[in-house]
Symmetry: C2
Subunit: 324 residues, 2 copies
Amino acid sequence: MTTPTSPTKVAPGNSHTSAPLPSWNEGPAKQSILDFVRKVTSGGDPQFVKPEDRIAVFDNDGTLWCEMPFYIQLAFAFDRMKAMAPQHPEWKDNPLYAAVLANDVKTVAAGGLKGLLELATVTHAGMTTDEFAKIVEDWIASARHAKFNRLYTDMIYQPMLELLVYLRANGFKTFIVSGGGVEFMRVFAEKVYGIPPEQVIGSSIVTRFEVVDGVPVLTRLPQLNFMDDNVGKPVGINMHIGRRPIAAFGNSDGDLQMLQWTTICAGCRFGLLVRHTDSVREYDYDASSMGKLDMALTEAATRGWTVVDMRNDWNRVFAFEAGK
Amino acid sequence: MTTPTSPTKVAPGNSHTSAPLPSWNEGPAKQSILDFVRKVTSGGDPQFVKPEDRIAVFDNDGTLWCEMPFYIQLAFAFDRMKAMAPQHPEWKDNPLYAAVLANDVKTVAAGGLKGLLELATVTHAGMTTDEFAKIVEDWIASARHAKFNRLYTDMIYQPMLELLVYLRANGFKTFIVSGGGVEFMRVFAEKVYGIPPEQVIGSSIVTRFEVVDGVPVLTRLPQLNFMDDNVGKPVGINMHIGRRPIAAFGNSDGDLQMLQWTTICAGCRFGLLVRHTDSVREYDYDASSMGKLDMALTEAATRGWTVVDMRNDWNRVFAFEAGK
């Protein structure tokens, strides 16, 4: 009954008004965005920034789309592990793998980052990059969020989608900078966010170039290459973009260093945290094993970063609410 | 007597004609480029490629600018080592470092890739990314090529600059994919090639995020992070761009895998090798410790890659020849 949200649908859906950010309620959060964009795009303003330097970076999980009750990519890893399990009878003797096969998220979460990384490498490796993309494509076209019974590509935040479109309309180049897997996100980022593959930065496993039967392939190996989270985010930004963003958007302590790197320097800078405060339309959490918001929230106060109160600042969370 | 070449000067310099690629002589090399671009950009053609998929990747050393008598970045490393030497009296006891300080290029070259990497890490690390960029900026503004007595930014190939401009005018997104240091190239790539930092892919050393006296910095460490050469080029392309190029331009065996990855697959693809055959206007070499062209040249014949004969295919190599 619903079609995947795509950036091209933003305008028609809001055709009753030409004002930007229609899903944002009037208030300090929305106003801070409008003020910032006005300053950096107004030719006469001392804080004007040339279009090529208007780089904006967005975390993905919990910032652009839902990360509860657990990361969407973890749901993918669960499904992959179940699909691969018949070929791996030995997995039932591994407590972590057995927990996955038993849908025991609590035990998996207790394994922390180390456990998640192990699951990711085991389930995301052993095929070529093209084969992996096809697996993700098929999965994302059918898997559904348990609470909302929606495709995961419908679980993106409508206000953030409008923000992406608004920034691009003002000459910004928008990038995703996520702890999630770069080759996982690239499968859908262009379609749902309008962000092309070359503007997606994420974590990765090692790939190896080889020519198999005369055909060059990149084979995915079960070994971490780069962790694009926490201190890794500024490193990933520098590696891929090579210039410092002027605006950064996140929602958790994993985004702290990205916001520091973006905002603590000369020039007009903008930092924003999405705070999950809406247990009805989405979820309400600060303390959580995933998407924990603590240190970054404290620092937001001293740095002047905008903190979005999802319940009060957004009049719509998901596009599929529109018909309500 | 000369000003740095910049992409904006291409058009005025060729204002007598509106035909593309004026520094290319008529012949099969030029024609192969024109034919390829016509096919992938003509709406009615079965080989039409959407603009967003028109990705073109260029090697740098020996493809976009001169790499003889040795890599320009090695000249930078030599100068850095001499500048740092007073603080390192112990270097005189290291044969490799002593060779650098004595301008003994032959001994350094005999050290192979391992030696070059060691020099790069020692001379390119120990400062922040911002500090490094400033050092490169100052160096590139004054250092000169020994044979031509020109700034290194004047040592770029005019025909390749025209090719970059021509491809971009036809909807292509142009990337550098080089074994050279990514943070070295980014300092000048936008100015001399019109290629922004986020479209430069190269080798890198490890950087570490830290907050020093309240200021977030990325510190460069003397440790290799990624080697963007040979089998590393397809890996780097996939990591940064996330889609397969449709055209690849190189000049040496270090570009072989990039050309394989780009051209051996479905769809209309283009591969090109610049062959250095001009001992008068530039250099004449296939066999060389740097920029060796052997396997890739052999494969070019079977793959149908275009091989540019610099002496015969280019009527001008450098922009500074114009006044001749």
